[in-house]
Symmetry: C2
Subunit: 327 residues, 2 copies
Amino acid sequence: MSDNNIKIDDVAKALGISKTTVSRSLSGKGRISEATRQKVLEYVETHNYRPNPIAKGLASSKTYNLAWVVPANSDMNALSFFQRCLGGVISASNEADYDIIITTTHAYDNKRLIKLVENRKVDGVILGQTLVNDINIEFLKKSGMPFVVIGSTSVSGVTMIDNDHSAACRELTAVLVMKGMKRIAYIGGDSTKVVNITRRDGFITGAAGNCSMIQMDCNDYKDISLAVDNAIDKNSDCIVCEDDRICQQVLAKLEKEMIQVPEKIKVASFYNSTLLENNKPPITSLQYDPRELGKVAVDILLKKTDNAEVPEKTILGYEVLLKASTQ
Amino acid sequence: MSDNNIKIDDVAKALGISKTTVSRSLSGKGRISEATRQKVLEYVETHNYRPNPIAKGLASSKTYNLAWVVPANSDMNALSFFQRCLGGVISASNEADYDIIITTTHAYDNKRLIKLVENRKVDGVILGQTLVNDINIEFLKKSGMPFVVIGSTSVSGVTMIDNDHSAACRELTAVLVMKGMKRIAYIGGDSTKVVNITRRDGFITGAAGNCSMIQMDCNDYKDISLAVDNAIDKNSDCIVCEDDRICQQVLAKLEKEMIQVPEKIKVASFYNSTLLENNKPPITSLQYDPRELGKVAVDILLKKTDNAEVPEKTILGYEVLLKASTQ
DNA sequence: TTGAAAGCGCTAACAA
DNA sequence: TTGTTAGCGCTTTCAA
């Protein structure tokens, strides 16, 4: 396969130069002649020399690892979001020769993250989710470890990467109003997550009074079923769902009650994934790109580890998908 | 918080001993007096000294990292399985002071894993899934890197951790036969995954001739819908599903066709997760413990990194959950 | 039972 | 432009 285990000394000797020169050729730091540089690169390539990242790390106090932190208990919906983010995170990290250490936290227990950071096993941290009172953010601010969050927070001095949920939800809701809906019900989930509050508030702004009901913290089918009953009692003409997991259950409930979409009631979702993909009718929804979110998070974090200036908040776009469910 | 950055020299000086002694007190290697040992431990505790794992790694050629490898494109079902495994993997690793580097592979592209291994960023690898012709297994065998797989493979000399899918599927199917079912249809997915072949074969053995139809590679609703049509055409009295994702879609199809479970047809699933949790009627299924799988995988892998002997195959148990859907 | 010193494989002043 | 040398913070022989 490869004569793994050759070290910088070996290539230096083989080429009759010093290891400093080899090191410089590879890192591009300091000036060296293009000729020697090429010589080194060629040798390294043909002999498949791989600098030992541990030794490199010790010398330059770096680990070439980034931490990816996700909640231990995620529902399916969050899981698929994190998975797609993670795809972008890994891809962008690998391009920069970084690897991803994954760890989980509970809302009130972040021992693992603390250990990871205090052990200096990573050069930076990405928080996959932000909570309303986030102990991870608190801890990371104090620790001095560079970090970014995916999502938003009101805590100051935190680097955020987020979709413009607020504008997106406002826009989609406003479109529904323009289409003539006057009694729109909103069904949302866990109100300790920042993004859920943001979506709800976007809805409220967009609805501009044309709102029949708002129900948060609907975490299982029972809650959602009751919320739908309530929406119907309130004579709603449309139900807007916080995400596709909720939407799926709303649709199931409506089907059970033989209430047709969009004839009897319209339905829209503030999030869209494979869950809703093949629904009949197709569901009006908001579309984001979690993979991009992950990539951008890594790019920004890496800048921070280099002490570069980065914007406090980076906003990525969205798409409003108008489908038959609100026709 | 903690005066992070004290190093072994600092504690040695503070205690008036050599750093060798400190090192030995912490690692437990070599003999030292219990008195000094306690002194060191106490100092370390109160001053929150954390040995630098990078330096430790360089000196002992270890990284204190394990790789967790999952396919880049997983359906929801696999995702939740991996997530639960990962919980066990992280938990067991952390207990041994290891961290988890996560990486993804595609069926025909494992560049990332190769890089991770050749860069010596990990001390061992856990493959979350086994394919029929698995390039990762091939590569890892050649590389000399310790590794274990979750699942089974026919490749020799590979350390496997798996549930006894074969016995479980056989047993559940046999129970159905005993209950009087004579025309059992089987609907399965991707036949390039070892586990899916195992389940199908377990079904065949358990059915002992009472099988009306077998349909593999049903990957979306359309496939499954056709398979159900086919099962009904064949006058089946029961449908056995390879996993809960398939089962969910089978149930949706049956509901659409107004075919009642269990009155008109029985339904069982070879896998059970939250997807099926609240179904009405409850679904007869097989229950495993993915978290345990992850934990055991780490324990065994760590033994391998210490050059200890480990069993080639470790089999974990299962439960047969008999519910109303086959009554 | 303890310590001195070499070394893990690299980077980066400082010199040349 | 290149090389010498001293670390990075630990572990581990070897000697005391």
